[in-house]
C-alpha cells in the first residue's frame, strides 16, 4: 500500500513536470486558433506543420538557429581550451602564488554577473564588437567554475604519470596535450555540455549585445516574436519547441555527464 502510494505520487510529479512540454508540442501542430478555445483541447484535430514552415520561411528562424549554434559551439570550444589549460596549471604546476591567485578567483563567485554588464558593454562597443558573435564568445572564453572543475579532476591524476613523461623528455605542453587532456575526457564532456547548454539558453547578455535582428539568438528572437505574435499561440509553441528540442536531444544522450557535473559542483563546499 505504501509502495503504491509512493509510486502514484512519483507519477503525479512526473506528469506535472512534463505536461507543459507535451502541451507545447501538441499545440504547435494545431490549426491557427485551435489552442485558443474553451474548454482547451489536448490534441490537434490534424497534424499541421504550417507554423514550423512559416517560422523557417518567413521569420528567419533558420538564421537564429545557426547564430545560436555558432555562438554556443564557439564559447564551448574556447572555454574548454582555456579552462583546461588553467585548471591543469593550478593543479599540477608548482608555483608559489598559485593558491592565492586561485582563492582570489574563487572570491568572484558571490559577485552577480549583472554588475559587469554595463562596463563590458561599453568596452565591447569601443572595440566595435557589438552585434558580432565575438560579443558573446570572447567574454565567455574562461570561467572560474570551469577552472575549478578541471582543477579538482586533475588532482586525481597521479604525479607519477607526469614525472614519468618528464623523464622521457616531454615538455609541459606535451604533458598537457598527450597525458592530461586524454585523462580529463569525462570532465571535459561534463564542462562542455554545461557550457553549451548554458550559452544556448542564455537570454540577458544576448539581448543586450545583439540589437540587430540578423544577429539574434533563438531566445532573443523568440522574445521578440512574442511582441508581434502574442495572439498566435500555435506559432509561439512551435517556436518554443524549436528552441528546446536541441537541448532535449543533447541532454538525453549526455545526461550522465551533466548530472555528475552538478554533483561535483555541489560538493565543493
Amino acid at each position: 500500500m505504501k509502495r503504491f502510494l509512493i509510486i502514484v505520487l512519483a507519477f503525479v510529479v512526473a506528469i506535472t513536470t512534463i505536461f507543459p512540454f507535451l502541451w507545447m508540442i501538441s499545440a504547435s501542430f494545431m490549426n491557427s486558433g485551435e489552442a485558443s478555445i474553451y474548454p482547451p483541447k489536448f490534441l490537434p484535430d490534424e497534424i499541421n506543420f504550417s507554423h514550423y514552415s512559416s517560422l523557417f520561411n518567413r521569420m528567419n528562424v533558420g538564421i537564429y538557429f545557426i547564430n545560436s549554434l555558432i555562438i554556443s559551439l564557439g564559447v564551448t570550444f574556447f572555454s574548454l581550451l582555456f579552462n583546461s589549460m588553467a585548471g591543469y596549471a593550478f593543479a599540477k604546476i608548482r608555483f608559489k602564488f598559485k593558491d592565492s591567485i586561485f582563492r582570489f578567483l574563487l572570491s568572484s563567485m558571490v559577485i552577480p554577473g549583472q554588475v559587469t554588464m554595463l562596463p563590458v558593454f561599453l568596452l565591447l562597443k569601443n572595440m566595435g564588437l557589438i552585434n558580432t558573435y565575438f560579443a558573446i564568445i570572447i567574454p565567455g572564453m574562461a570561467s572560474v567554475f570551469g577552472i575549478f572543475l578541471i582543477r579538482q579532476y586533475c588532482y586525481s591524476i597521479p604525479d607519477s604519470f607526469i614525472e614519468a613523461a618528464k623523464i622521457d623528455g616531454a615538455n609541459d605542453f606535451q604533458i598537457y596535450y598527450k597525458i592530461i587532456l586524454p585523462l580529463c575526457k569525462p570532465i571535459l564532456v561534463t564542462l562542455g555540455i554545461l557550457t553549451f547548454l548554458g550559452t544556448w539558453n542564455d537570454f540577458m547578455w544576448p539581448l543586450i549585445v545583439m540589437t540587430d535582428s540578423s544577429m539574434y539568438t533563438l531566445p532573443v528572437a523568440l522574445a521578440n516574436l512574442m511582441g508581434e505574435h502574442v495572439q498566435d499561440t500555435e506559432l509561439m509553441m512551435a517556436g518554443s519547441a524549436i528552441t528546446i528540442l536541441p537541448v532535449f536531444i543533447l541532454f538525453i544522450f549526455l545526461q550522465k555527464y551533466y548530472i555528475s557535473g552538478i554533483m561535483l559542483g555541489g560538493v565543493k563546499e
Partner: protein
C-alpha cells in the same frame, strides 16, 4: 634550483594567461569599472561624448534611496527570494526523498524526467507558461475548474502575478537542487538508519534525527546558491509580465536593465547593480555565519 623555479613560473604563466586575461578583462576589471561608474552621471550624452561625464559622488546612491521604483523592485525581489527559495528547496528535498526511496522503481527515469525543466531554455518555458496562465483559455484555470475553483487572471492581477512567477520558478528549478540533495542523501551511512531501526524509530524520527542533521551542510550550500540565483530574477518577468501589472513583478535586475539598456542611465544602473551585489554578499555572509555556528 633557481633555473627550475623560473621554468615553473614560465610554464604556469603560459597555461594560465589565456584564462586569466579573459577573466581580468571581462570580469574583474569591469567590476572595478562598475564601482567607479556608479559614482558618475554616465548617461546617453556621455555615451556620445565622454566630456559630458561628471563625477557625482554618492548622488546615484542617494537618488536610489529616494526612488520609489527602486524600493518597489527591491521589495518584489525580496518577496521572490524569501517566498520562492524556501518553497523551491522544500520541493527539491521532497523530490529527492521520493526518488531516493527504497520503495520506488525506475529511479533513474524519474530523476531524468524531474530534471528536464532545468535544462530547457527559460525564455521558451516562460512563453509556454504564459499561455498556461491565460485567463480565458489557459490550462491552469481549466484544471482549477475541476476543483470547483474560479478562474483567475494570474499574470494580470497585481496580487497574483508574483506567486504565479514563483510557481513557474519552482517547476523550472527544483530538479537542480534535487540532484544535489540526492548526492547528500547517498553520503549518509546506512548503518545510522539501521541503528535507528533497531531502536524502533519511525519514519519521521529518522528524518528528523538522522537525515536532516546530516544533510545540514548540503542544505546550507543549496540555500546559498539558490538565494544568489533567485536574487537575479530577470527573464521570467521580462517575458511574462514586463514587470507589471502596476510594477508588481519589477525585479531589481529588470529595473537595472531598463535604466541601463533602455534609457542609458548607465551611472544610475551600475549603482543599482552594485546595491544588488552588496545585498547578495550580505546574504551569503549571513548564511556562512550560520553554518559556522552549526559546525560548533
Amino acid at each position: 634550483m633557481k633555473l627550475m623555479k623560473k621554468n615553473n613560473i614560465a610554464a604556469f604563466m603560459f597555461f594560465v594567461i589565456p584564462a586569466l586575461v579573459t577573466l581580468l578583462t571581462f570580469f574583474f576589471l569591469p567590476v572595478f569599472a562598475a564601482f567607479l561608474l556608479s559614482f558618475t552621471d554616465f548617461d546617453i550624452y556621455s555615451l556620445g561624448d565622454l566630456s559630458n561625464l561628471r563625477f557625482t559622488g554618492f548622488a546615484n546612491y542617494l537618488d536610489l534611496f529616494e526612488d520609489p521604483l527602486f524600493w518597489k523592485s527591491l521589495t518584489n525581489t525580496f518577496y521572490f527570494v524569501f517566498a520562492g527559495a524556501p518553497l523551491s528547496i522544500l520541493v527539491s528535498l521532497s523530490a529527492a526523498l521520493l526518488v531516493n526511496s527504497k520503495l520506488i522503481k525506475w529511479k533513474s527515469t524519474f530523476r531524468v524526467v524531474y530534471f528536464l525543466p532545468v535544462i530547457t531554455t527559460l525564455v521558451a518555458v516562460a512563453i509556454v507558461w504564459r499561455y498556461i496562465y491565460h485567463p480565458r483559455f489557459g490550462l491552469f484555470n481549466y484544471f482549477l475548474s475541476f476543483l470547483g475553483l474560479e478562474g483567475m487572471d494570474w499574470l494580470g492581477n497585481p496580487v497574483l502575478a508574483m506567486p504565479s512567477i514563483i510557481i513557474l520558478a519552482i517547476w523550472k528549478n527544483f530538479g537542480y537542487n534535487m540532484i544535489i540533495f540526492i548526492a547528500g542523501l547517498q553520503n549518509i551511512p546506512s548503518e545510522l538508519y539501521e541503528a535507528a531501526d533497531i531502536e524502533g524509530a519511525n519514519w519521521w524520527q529518522k528524518f528528523r534525527d538522522v537525515t536532516l542533521p546530516l544533510l545540514a551542510p548540503t542544505t546550507i550550500f543549496i540555500t546559498i546558491i539558490t538565494m544568489i540565483g533567485y536574487f537575479q530574477l530577470f527573464a521570467e518577468p521580462y517575458i511574462m509580465t514586463q514587470g507589471g501589472p502596476l510594477n508588481s513583478t519589477l525585479s531589481v535586475v529588470l529595473y537595472m536593465y531598463n535604466e541601463g539598456f533602455k534609457w542609458w542611465n548607465i551611472g544610475y544602473a551600475t549603482a543599482i547593480a552594485f546595491s544588488l551585489f552588496i545585498i547578495i554578499m550580505t546574504g551569503t555572509l549571513i548564511q556562512l555565519a550560520i553554518q559556522r555556528k552549526l559546525d560548533r
